[in-house]
Amino acid sequence: MLQPSTLYSLTAVVLFCMGCYSLLTYSHLLRKILGVNVMGVGVFMLLIARAYAGEGQQSDPVPQALVLTGIVVAVCATALALNLAVQIEATTHKADLAEDEENNGNAN
């Protein structure tokens, strides 16, 4: 039988991969930023899933503290990314990283 923590860990891995896929394949900046966020949620879920110690058991507090800190970092990074995206949209009138000049911009 599938343990709850295994189920959540697998979901976490799927989320991480989905986010990564979105980051790599879409060119719209909002999609990329959301992709990174979904990746982050995957990592947090992995940490939380491993904190679960079983029915009625005390769960491990350390991963929860790590996730809280991680969420703060993710919020800051997302805020900065959104702000940059808005500025890019405002100055170039498009929300992607397509380069129209020099620097072989192998967009990720």
């Binding site: 930023i33 990592v43 940490l47 491993r50 991963p63 900065l80 940059l84 995206a85 020099e102």
Partner: protein, 498 residues
Amino acid sequence: MPTDQWHLIPLAIALPLSAVLLAILVRRATVYLLLGILLLMSANAVGLTWLVSSQGPKTYYMGGWEPPLGIVLYADGLSALLILMTTIVGFAAGLYALRYFPTKTDDEDATHRKNHFWPLWMFLLAAMSALFLSRDIFNIYITLELMGLAAVSLVALAGEPVALRASMRYLLVSMAGSLFYLVGVALIYANFGVLDLPAIRAVINQSPAAIIALSLMTVGLMMKTALFPFHFWLPPAHANAPTPVSAVLSGLVIKASFYLLVRLWFQGFDIFLTPIIMIIMGAMGAMAILWGAFHALKQERVKLLIAYSTVAQLGYLFLLFPLIKSGEASKLAWSGVFIFVLAHAFAKAALFLAAGNILKAYGHDRISDLGEMNRYIPVTVFAFGLAGLSLVGLPPTGGFIAKWLMIRSAILGEQWWCAVLIAGGGLLAAGYILRVISRAFRTVPDIPRPKPLSPLTEWTALGLALLALGLGFTGVYTLDLLQAGTPEFILNLAGGIP
């Protein structure tokens, strides 16, 4: 208390952090206050270096709380040296920024840029000091993110669309890299229940979870270091940032994630260091050296040329892995690579500041349209040339000492390809540095007269170049200091890698 003097360790983080607050709260006249704090930071870094060299490495528990509850800081010769390097380059580029961002201007954008520059700058220095002192893999994640966010914002300060796109790409790569790293941290904690590096070293085994965790952390950090083939974000970000920012990004920031890779592999996960892994890392480094130099040779703008040169120079750092082989060769490689880190930091920062001067004086940095620089901006040209010498690795510069140690290590370890690569990479570097220098003395008929430069911006570039040169004369002291942090793993390598 006899341990009081070790409060220098947290001070290395607290001083720049207090400067961040000052820079935000007190707008007027802060620049001089901030320079004062930078002076204090330099004194602190020198003190810390001296302490570590006389008393050996030190573990410091913040507030007396021991792990797993408290935060552990750890200073050895390597971290002290890198903090000293960060402070010096941060200070010099900060002085440059004084004149780079105009003091009195009616332009709203320029004022806005100047007001945002200083808090971010000090924040970057604080994050880097914290990173060099961290030993807990989760705290390392936090410091990585703090450093990345500050660095991205500083690139975006340039404000032009190219710079905005470059910083956006930098941010996305940086965030993705951090998340890859964090998955590794999560796996380690889930399987071994520890986060402190020495504790990890004690319990780690060859389980699949550990291998996946280490691979993910390594890939994440390589993305942030811009090691080939993850280098694509680096040239546009470093070339389009404001000049003082380019200098610290290329000189310092990318070294931080390399430093973490070294700490992880040699001080936590050394059981995974097999010859195959060493060769793969070295091969990526070799590709970086060739690819970066090849593209640097083709660039049309000075700043882009220097940025591609950074891609190449990063490759040398990764030769550390194949060069670590047996006792003596390993010690030589260890010292050589870290002296290389220092020499490159000073030389590359000097090159970027000099390139910024060229850009400011001529209004552009297209290599083909430059000329008569020796007449108009002689100090800058001299700085560029000196820093270039160190990059090429000619005596008596720091770059020479570093490459000489690395080549000796390669010969001792019978890694001939590394020796050839190190020497050949120097020739390629000579090629792209000469492309710029040869323009300096060219007489061009009707070149528009360049704008005069502030002496401060010229002399800070020269100062950094002189440091790269001076490193060649203080090599022995630096070597001794690095011994105070060489991992036991390397010192114990009498019989070579299993």
